[in-house]
């Protein structure tokens, strides 16, 4: 089963975890066959929001939610069940600075 681990961090802590450590974590998970994809994201002030309303594309700056923590990256993993996914999430280095939201992937109905 696939789970998406969304990494949330406070902006000033984005660089608290060395990149090297995150790369090593990703390599380890990939070797164990548990990692499908993982990327770190640029800070939220680089974000753009796109909406389509009545066929018209609207583009805005942001989103700038009120929350202190922002989405900083993601890991798409393959895990046996939620317990297995939690064990993987606990290994993601930013978990000790921010938080990791674990969401099961929903297979789209064809």
């Amino acid at each position: 089963m696939k789970y998406l681990c969304l990494v949330y961090m406070e902006e000033q802590k984005l660089h608290a975890v060395p990149d090297r450590e995150c790369v090593a974590c990703g390599d380890g998970l990939r070797q164990g066959g548990q990692l499908l994809a993982a990327e770190a994201l640029q800070p939220i002030d680089t974000a753009t929001t796109v909406r389509v309303r009545n066929g018209k594309v609207s583009v805005t700056d942001g989103p700038f939610a009120e929350t202190k923590e922002q989405l900083a990256g993601f890991y798409l993993i393959e895990a046996r069940d939620l317990n297995d996914a939690i064990q993987v999430a606990a290994k993601i280095p930013p978990a000790r600075e921010g938080s990791v939201e674990v969401r099961p992937v929903r297979e789209l109905a064809p």
Partner: protein
Amino acid sequence: MTATDPVHETVNAVYVAESRRVLATLIRLLGDFDAAEEAMHEAFRAALEQWPRDGIPGNPRAWLVSAGRFKAIDSRRRLARFDGLDGVSDAVIAVRDEAAWADPEALEDDRLRLIFTCCHPALSSDAQVALTLREVCGLTTEEIAQAFVTPAPTLAQRIVRAKGKIRDAKIPYEVPERGDLAERLDSVLRVIYLVFNEGYAASSGASVTRHDLSAEAIRVGRLLVELLPEPEAIGLLALMLLHDSRRAARVNAGGDLVLLNDQDRSKWDRAQIGEGARLVERALAGGSVGPYAIQAAIAAVHAEAASAAETDWGEIVGLYDALMRIAGSPVVELNRAVAVAMRDGPAAGLVLVDAILERGDLKDYRLAHAARADLCRRLGRVAEAGESYARALALTRQEPERRFLERRLAELAT
């Protein structure tokens, strides 16, 4: 069929004694809470039809599990035919079944699996409590709603949502591995103690105890000790038995709260105290001593004292010191301060309570102000006592506690 029919009575008795175990096994076999519940009810329905004709089976539980499984296979087969997937689900069920019956220990573990799944930390605390009472204890949604003074639809929705998360996020139906066990057991113990306390000292409402909930918590506690005799599980069971042993003395005929030191100790349940005390010894002999075992040890010292004055307050302060070291909190510190006041006099206790309140940790905790009020009263500092009683009164939500504080406040004035 009438209720006086002996076979009907046997089926009822088997339902009371075995339905939770049957359910626990069916959840594992079918991999789904709702399907298992339906299959279990189908199995009991079949028992009512067949046992009068064929006689009561030698192992009713195995019969019911087997009947439930066949009923579920049947209904899946019907569904599969609709979906044009005939054969697929049969194969799935057959594989699960083979592995399931190969290991007799797995059957015993099913009840533990059920407990750990209902108390999984990925579920909200409210959901853990509701699911445990529903699935492990077999209470109806209405009974749980009543006990928690929550509208039944709210509670039903909470249970549906929790089952949905178990299914969709794939929370596994298993006893955690050794490495995770301590942490996961904490979650289970917390749920059981929460249910107990909700029954023992209802956080709101007109009645001080809602004994049914306490009794259910003790029942699950016993089951847990039977299946997984970890020192902290034993400690929690001891703690609940010792607290519950004082139930008859905690409230007077008028429904008012009676403090520990003023209770009629002849009303304490001696048999339950004996059992609690033996469990405390067992929990403490385990090597690593946890917070439940220490709290149970404190309760045992109280329970075994002939009166408040004859209580070994030195021992109690020592146990609170130990508790502070492994699970220190402002509330534990407050309890320790009250024990110090009993050992060394109210002035010594007041210094400690004031220090805690000055830090601000417990400034909205009603019992901290009630404790301060009591110490001031004993020292003859009437004005300060009155202020603190008023503070406690403003913070309490529980009717008998309100009456108690109002009475104390009135007594100060005379």
